[in-house]
């Protein structure tokens, strides 16, 4: 009788131990991957173990992982990664407070990076290398975050129904001639929030609200799906123009699905506001966390990603523009030509984000 009772207790304990051991398995896994890394370094000269850098990221491109490997080979610093959704990882980082293991936080959109800074989750980094590699516009005013890739939010149009001469500015999209012709995704998406935030800055809140109202009046359908779905709907004839990020269009052109390539060829991209205040751009970027335990490694890591060597591959992983002026964009992006970008510090996009969300709700942009 006692025996069985002990047995039950034992089962429970074993279960707990298995769980506790899980933290051990992490170790097992890291040794696995580091042994892989070592294998690759044994071909070059053996890099010595220089500790780790722990990364929270909302970018999940396979090319990023290759770059981390190269970084490890060059410096001996191992990169540990948690990949998730930007806003949720931010919440996790905030909750973990001083106990966090994360050293570097990487996410898309200046609005998100600003939010990190506002919540006191980042720290300032003084680095000559970063100041040289990254234009001032694309850095935080207090050096708490740094842009690494650039994308533009542009107008995609159906070549057979719209001529580029009809297009001019974002503001012009509220003209009644576009009624029932505009495709755009939901306002819960930060790309749209940042777009509106930039208008609040450039044109004032009243005008920004009018613009949002005007777009809602001209929508071809209720917002749904992602940017890629807007481009598909465009070719399918559900609307004539769509507001999308450049890399989604580029990705369709490079798709492994021949049908995707076919439709991308029926679409043109137009960079609006070239005669006025410029096309809206945004970034994906990084910052060093406030409680980073490996700050030195973290800075090295970010410097590496901003370097001439890494920028090309890092940006191309998602068909984006490199931020480093010394690095040319991919041939495809080059073929679209240079463009004039909005002349605002991207910090503003974060400052106006909450206001933008409220305007969207008020004008009924779903």
């Amino acid at each position: 009788m006692k025996k069985q009772f002990l047995f039950l207790g034992a089962i429970f304990l074993v279960a707990l131990l298995v769980l506790a051991g899980c933290s051990g398995t992490e170790g097992v896994q890291t040794t696995e991957s580091s042994s892989q890394a070592n294998k690759s370094t044994s071909n070059n000269e053996q890099a010595e173990d220089k500790g780790v850098v722990n990364l929270y990221t909302s970018r999940h491109y396979d090319t990023d992982a290759e770059l981390y490997k190269i970084f490890t080979e060059q410096t001996g610093i191992k990169v540990n990664v948690v990949q998730g959704k930007g806003d949720e990882l931010m919440e996790r980082l905030d909750r973990e407070g001083a106990n966090t293991e994360a050293d570097v936080f990487m996410t898309a959109d200046a609005g998100n990076l600003y939010r990190l800074k506002e919540r006191g989750l980042l720290q300032a980094v003084e680095s000559k290398t970063l100041a040289e590699n990254i234009p001032e516009q694309l850095r935080d005013v207090d050096n708490q975050w740094f842009g690494l890739t650039k994308r533009a939010r542009v107008i995609a149009y159906a070549k057979d129904r719209v001529s580029p001469s009809e297009l001019s500015t974002y503001e012009n999209l509220t003209d009644p001639k576009w009624k029932g012709r505009i495709l755009v995704r939901s306002s819960s998406n930060i790309y749209n929030q940042s777009l509106l935030a930039s208008f609040i800055e450039l044109n004032g809140e009243e005008k920004a609200k009018e613009w949002a109202k005007g777009i809602v009046a001209n929508m071809a359908r209720n917002p749904k799906g992602g940017d890629t779905d807007q481009i598909k709907a465009l070719v399918a004839g559900e609307g004539d123009i769509a507001i999308v990020n450049t890399y989604y269009y580029a990705r369709l052109l490079n798709s492994s699905n021949p049908e995707d390539v076919k439709i991308a060829e029926k679409v043109g991209v137009f960079f609006p506001n070239q005669q006025t205040n410029g096309t809206h751009i945004n970034i994906s970027g990084v910052g060093v966390t406030r409680y980073a335990k490996n700050k030195e490694n973290a800075v090295k890591f970010i410097e590496f990603l901003s370097s001439v060597q890494a920028q090309g591959q890092f940006a191309e992983g998602n068909n984006e523009y490199p931020v480093n002026p010394a690095v040319p964009p991919s041939d495809l992006l080059k073929s679209w030509g240079d463009f004039k970008a909005q002349d605002i510090n991207l910090t503003i996009l974060g400052v106006n984000n909450a206001q933008a969300i409220k305007i969207f709700n008020e004008v009924g942009w779903k």
């Binding site: 009788m1 069985q4 009772f5 047995f7 039950l8 207790g9 089962i11 429970f12 279960a15 506790a20 899980c22 933290s23 398995t25 992490e26 890291t30 722990n54 999940h60 491109y61 396979d62 540990n80 990664v81 948690v82 990949q83 998730g84 959704k85 806003d87 949720e88 990882l89 919440e91 996790r92 909750r95 973990e96 106990n99 966090t100 293991e101 939010r115 919540r119 819960s188 930060i190 209720n222 917002p223 749904k224 799906g225 992602g226 940017d227 890629t228 779905d229 598909k232 709907a233 070719v235 559900e238 990705r251 492994s256 699905n257 049908e259 439709i263 909450a354 409220k358 709700n361 779903k366």
Partner: protein, 546 residues
């Protein structure tokens, strides 16, 4: 005298363990509950003015129609599979559970991909027949489309519970009804439906809880529900208070549903696992009727499993070379490891609590079994954040204790898998508990009492008498939980330790980056592993029958 002392000791152990488990589950819930009553801020006013009505309306429409559609499909399938013999019946019997292996968000992306302008249907029409059709025929990203997606990927809950009830417990009713000359349809409406009401309602409430918790499908299809609103206010506006208020609203809807379920169930309880009660003998159907029945079952199977499966296979081959890497071995290992561990612990905990409440009876027991369901009613992301907070508190306590002993503190809890598994326990205990509880109900207390009367202590009785009879229920609970954890997303995404991606997070990452074709490989692996589980489960159940 000694016996009484022993009895006390034993009871205490079961009681203490149960109490501890319940406490662990209650803590995060309480953390949320307390925030609901905080002072509303100006943001809440804004949400109330512009959004709340739509959110609640959409949520209610979604659960109402999905609940009805899943019940109708699940029940009708359960009926024809249980009482008739027709071509392919033996395969369809378990094949119709397979849609559970497809995560609804993957199903949503797959159907949208198929129906979209570049999808297989429209491409074929365009390229082979030069037919251009109006887009409105292909628009699945609507309320109706969302109901469709949820229905086809969740109806197996209703189907499997109702089917096991019908095939195990309705033989005598049906035979008598037939002897009295009832027509098949008459029997269905006047006998089958009333007696299986409890099973149908139990299945439907599982479906509804899954729908309430979903975030992937509704976000992608642009349907604003309470669950999207929670994410939007919390992560978008950074307003935790309002997010918790919305979570509270969601929880109250769930509570209402659970109470309704109790009322609708009446005094009847359903059972999941096998029993020794005389199973029903299916009757052969002939001619046209046989083909009609077959066409119906196979049609549903095709829409809910076969078609998405083939489409994913196709995409998988298209992107295979680009995507395949040694990393996938690790992903498979991680997924299986974490699902197996969590499912085992959940079943174990469910056994402890269910056994205690069964022998204890009374108010406390009822309360305990209700509490296990709580976790099912809270969005995964909210549980995840509550768990982080809880563990950090524990960490701090450990820190202060070790500091007072002059030891170096170890933050063993903060990023370990322990957090992830605890979150799974809170979220999925309800599923495991329901199966185990149903098993206990089926064996009743007679054997246990007999054993106790012969002087065998509780724990020994549990191992020698109860456990052997519970095999089916334990196994079915395990499989259900395993399959659900394998495809679980929000918790896994927030709580994953460093370098610990799973198949589900990998599939999501591609899909979220709008690379649906690339997501196919990870999705296929999830489906294959779950499918293998469901198949072996079915085989074991069949063996038990014989």
């Amino acid at each position: 005298m000694r016996l009484i002392q022993q009895l006390k000791l034993q009871l205490n152990i079961w009681a203490i363990l149960s109490f501890l488990i319940i406490l662990i589950i209650l803590l995060p819930n309480l953390m949320i509950g307390l925030q609901v009553f905080s002072e509303p801020n100006e943001n809440w006013q804004h949400i109330k003015d512009y959004l709340l009505k739509d959110y609640v309306y959409n949520t209610l429409v979604l659960i109402l129609f999905t609940g009805i559609a899943a019940s109708v499909i699940g029940t009708s399938l359960a009926w024809v599979i249980s009482v008739y013999k027709f071509p392919l019946r033996n395969f369809l019997k378990w094949g119709l559970i397979l849609p559970l292996a497809i995560p609804p968000y993957i199903g949503a992306y797959t159907y949208q991909g198929m129906l979209s302008y570049t999808g297989i249907i429209q491409s074929t029409l365009r390229n082979s027949f030069d037919i251009q059709l109006d887009q409105k025929y292909f628009d699945i990203m609507t309320m109706q489309g969302t109901v469709f997606i949820f229905t086809i990927f969740l109806f197996p809950y209703v189907y499997s519970i109702t089917k096991s009830f019908l095939s195990n417990q309705s033989a005598s009713f049906l035979e008598n009804a037939r002897l009295l000359g009832g027509s098949p349809l008459g029997i269905f409406f006047r006998v089958v439906l009333p007696i299986s009401r409890a099973a149908i309602v139990a299945g439907a409430s599982l479906v509804i809880l899954e729908v309430l918790n979903d975030y992937g499908v509704v976000k992608y299809y642009g349907i604003q529900t309470l669950s999207t609103a929670i994410f939007q206010t919390w992560f978008g506006m950074g307003d935790l208070d309002s997010a918790f208020k919305l979570a509270g609203t969601l929880m109250s809807i769930v509570m209402i549903i659970l109470v309704l379920e109790k009322i609708l169930r009446g005094r009847k309880r359903y059972s999941y696992s096998t029993s020794k009660i005389r199973p029903i003998q299916p009757q052969p159907v002939k001619g046209v009727a046989a083909w009609l029945v077959f066409a119906y079952c196979f049609g549903i199977f095709s829409i809910a499993f076969l078609i998405p499966f083939i489409q994913l296979t196709f995409w998988m081959f298209m992107t295979f070379e680009k995507i395949i890497s040694p990393e996938f071995t690790t992903l498979i290992m991680n997924s299986i490891f974490v699902s197996t561990t969590a499912a085992s612990v959940i079943v174990l905990i469910a056994l402890i609590v269910a056994n205690y409440t069964r022998l204890q009876g009374g108010f406390i027991a009822k309360l305990f079994s209700k509490i296990t369901v709580l976790g099912y009613s809270i969005p995964g992301a909210v549980i995840a954040i509550a768990i982080i907070t809880l563990f950090l508190t524990i960490d701090r306590i450990i820190f202060s204790i070790s500091a007072s002993f002059n030891l170096t503190p170890v933050f063993v809890l903060s990023t370990s898998l322990l957090m992830l598994v605890s979150a799974y326990i809170i979220r999925f205990l309800a599923l495991g508990y329901n199966s185990v509880e149903a098993g206990f109900e089926k064996i009743g207390n007679r054997f246990t009492e007999a054993s106790r009367t012969l002087g065998v202590p509780i724990t020994e009785t549990f191992f020698k008498v109860d456990l052997p009879m519970m095999k089916g229920a334990i196994f079915s609970g395990f499989i259900l939980v395993f399959v659900d954890i394998l495809k679980e997303l929000p918790l896994t995404l927030i709580l994953q330790p460093f370098n610990f991606s799973t198949l589900a997070t990998k599939a999501f990452q591609y899909a979220n980056d709008e690379m649906v074709n690339e997501a196919a490989l990870a999705s296929m692996l999830i489906i294959l592993i779950s499918g293998a589980c469901i198949f072996s489960f079915h085989k074991i159940l069949d063996k038990e029958h014989d």
